[in-house]
């Protein structure tokens, strides 16, 4: 059966992906260039029995999606830089309290109000380190309108599977451009439903530190328990015991590490025999692919490493390639002044040169600029 091809805006595709994944609540606050996600959800949610609310600010928006998730609804919020900064305290809450939610950050030019209508990739580190304290973070990084849909579905799945907030880290170009999108049939993409606890209510330990995963009971489902943003014990009540809080914090962070292979998705393009790598995400990765193809055309053995998960950082993938191939250098094009590059340098451990290619221009980095950097490694 031929599928219907739509021509859709990236932000709308995120909304459709969320609905496909079973999202039934959106709490947000408008901000360019993410607003179309909210607008689409405002229209679409009631059609599937869900609710939309525009809260008074981003802090309340973030609070509302956590609350809705606790009450059983898969929940989405969307924002951009300034809103991301404001949401950070409550994002940390969701991380510590293991509440699944999906947060779309459509990156624009920062810092501060910066360049509201200009794209960037400058929130990469903020997504990982923006909230205080040690915490787990997952971020997926789509590069096309189709991936806006697919990766949003994956983001919801990861959120449920690992009981944590998941970022969809995209940018003003991918978010606002239009491109073909094939909406999968129901059942075609995996959708992970939130498991329900099966134990007796009085035995329910919502934060059992000795288990990798405990289903999150919805408020009102007969499992009465306590949630707190203080460090807590397996039963959810505050504890001052540093041994317990160390154990719990390590658990929720290492859980991601342990499941690296399930979480971290990377497209490797022509890396098999590559001597020069380009490491890029999102719209920069599209330029990079263009550049790699051109490099190959002129006989340069270039390859592209394109993470679809940037947090946890795809270090094992990189490591493997660096151990296998004799890599002369890695080019890291990013629309910021150097963020992923630092991580690549850390992982490279001196095994090869690592060169950032930074840009704050409002258009994507040009393939020719990347090609030139590739050439320098030849």
């Amino acid at each position: 059966m031929a599928k219907k091809v739509e021509f859709m805006m990236g932000n709308h595709a995120v909304a459709e992906g969320a609905l496909y994944a079973g999202c039934r609540f959106f709490g947000g606050y408008p901000i360019t260039p993410s607003t179309e996600v909210a607008e689409r959800m405002a229209e679409r949610l009631p059609q599937v029995g869900g609710r939309f609310i525009q809260m008074e600010d981003e802090i309340a928006a973030m609070a509302s999606v956590i609350g809705a998730s606790i009450a059983g609804a898969k929940s989405l919020t969307a924002t951009s830089g300034p809103g991301l900064s404001l949401k950070q305290e409550n994002i940390g809450y969701a991380m510590l309290c293991e509440i699944p939610v999906v947060i779309v950050d459509v990156m624009r030019g920062g810092p501060s109000t910066g360049m509201p209508t200009g794209p960037s990739q400058s929130d990469i580190m903020c997504a990982k380190w923006g909230t205080h304290g040690d915490h787990p973070a997952i971020a997926v990084t789509p590069a096309s309108v189709q991936e806006q849909f697919d990766e949003t579905v994956r983001a919801f799945n990861l959120a449920e599977k690992y009981r944590c907030p998941v970022f969809v880290l995209t940018d003003a170009i991918i978010g606002q451009m239009m491109e073909q999108l094939v909406i999968p049939e129901p059942g075609e993409l995996e959708v992970i439903e939130r498991p329900k606890p099966t134990c007796k209510p009085e035995e329910y330990l919502p934060f059992d530190m000795d288990k990798d995963f405990v289903p999150l009971a919805a408020f009102g489902s007969g499992y009465r328990y306590h949630i707190t943003g203080l460090h807590h014990n397996s039963d959810g009540f505050p504890t001052n015991d540093p041994v317990l809080h160390t154990k719990n914090t390590i658990k929720i962070i290492e859980r991601l590490d342990k499941n690296y292979d399930d979480i971290v998705k990377v497209e490797e393009f022509m890396t098999d025999d590559a001597e020069i790598l380009v490491f890029a995400i999102g719209v920069s990765a599209r330029s990079a692919k263009h550049a790699v193809v051109e490099a190959r055309n002129v006989g340069i053995k270039a390859g592209l490493v394109r993470p679809l998960t940037i947090w946890p950082f795809p270090e094992r993938h990189l490591d493997r390639i660096l151990n296998k191939n004799k890599i002369k250098g890695i080019v890291v094009p990013e629309m910021n002044l150097g963020q992923m590059t630092f991580e690549v340098q850390r992982v490279a451990k001196g095994r090869c040169a690592v060169e950032g290619l930074y840009s704050l221009m409002l258009d994507p980095i040009l393939p020719s600029e990347i090609l030139e950097k590739i050439r320098r490694f030849v």
Binding site: I53, E56, S64, G67, S75, H226
Partner: protein
């Protein structure tokens, strides 16, 4: 025994963390009696708080309880309610939590008139962090951050609620245990956002340094300065100096948010 609280208390959690003489424990008891009186099932109640001494309350009672971030209880509560409107959702917190850092969420809940019950535990100070002034610390009073006396004007919490559109606004005190229970029950019964300001005593943070020698003297002060709204109507302004009214101060019919939303978007015909 006038009432057995055990049914609603979580096992093994007492003594609670509140100081000797802190009146939050008294309110907790009024709350339990009010909930019992209204007959809600424990599974159907969500109790949401922010951060502060008051906000520790949910930990002691056997409902769905959510202790969130400072000032944000109402935002969380709004999400809980929208995702499952069948839950009876109560948001509570101290005067700081609700009206300082949480002020914006407070006024917007009042505006929306979403069906939440909001309890503001007003003890005129930031208790948990050790006695810094709050938006309700009386002019001239001592606090660690007003060592020369409080210089800021204060909020009238109930006026703030009314001004922002709340449809049910009441005031009571920790001293008036039966009245408090009654106000809570009326708030529960009200459809829409209901706000109850509950005057409380923080002997540790406020009383000690502001000439209240004992916790009991703070309760006596409540007894002496609270005037029932009905009685107040017949009192002259002079008689009311230094007093405050208790009772239901404001109650109007106003469309509830979720109902309006559901009807508007076609979720409900």
């Amino acid at each position: 025994m006038s009432y057995d609280y055990a049914k609603y208390l979580r096992k093994g959690k007492l003594p609670h963390i509140w100081c000797a003489g802190c009146t939050y424990g008294i309110i907790l008891k009024s709350l339990i009696r009010a909930i019992d009186g209204i007959g809600w099932a424990k599974d159907d109640i969500a109790l949401v708080s922010g951060i502060g001494c008051a906000s520790r309350l949910p930990g002691y009672v056997d409902f769905n309880t959510l202790h969130t971030t400072h000032g944000r209880s109402i935002g969380f509560a709004t999400g809980v309610k929208l995702a499952n409107p069948k839950l009876n959702v109560i948001a509570l917190g101290g005067d700081g939590d609700m009206t300082a850092i949480g002020g914006n969420h407070f006024i917007h809940a009042c505006r929306r008139n979403i069906d939440l019950t909001i309890f503001v535990f007003n003890n005129n100070i930031y208790g948990m962090t050790g006695a810094q002034y709050s938006p309700t610390t009386p002019k001239g009073a001592w606090a660690t951050t007003s060592p020369y006396g409080m210089a800021e004007n204060t909020f009238e919490i109930t006026s703030l609620a009314i001004g922002s559109g709340a449809s049910f606004v009441a005031r009571t005190t920790a001293y008036h245990v039966a009245h408090c229970e009654k106000m809570m029950k009326e708030a529960f019964q009200h459809k829409g956002t209901s706000v109850v300001e509950i005057i409380n005593a923080c002997p540790t943070g406020f009383g000690r340094k502001n000439k209240f020698k004992t916790p009991a003297s703070m309760l006596t002060w409540m007894k002496d300065s609270a005037v029932n709204i009905e009685r107040a109507k017949n009192m002259s302004p002079e008689e009311l100096v230094g007093k405050y009214t208790i009772g239901v101060l404001h109650k109007v019919d106003k469309p509830e948010y979720i109902e309006t939303y559901d009807t508007t978007v076609g979720l409900k015909k």
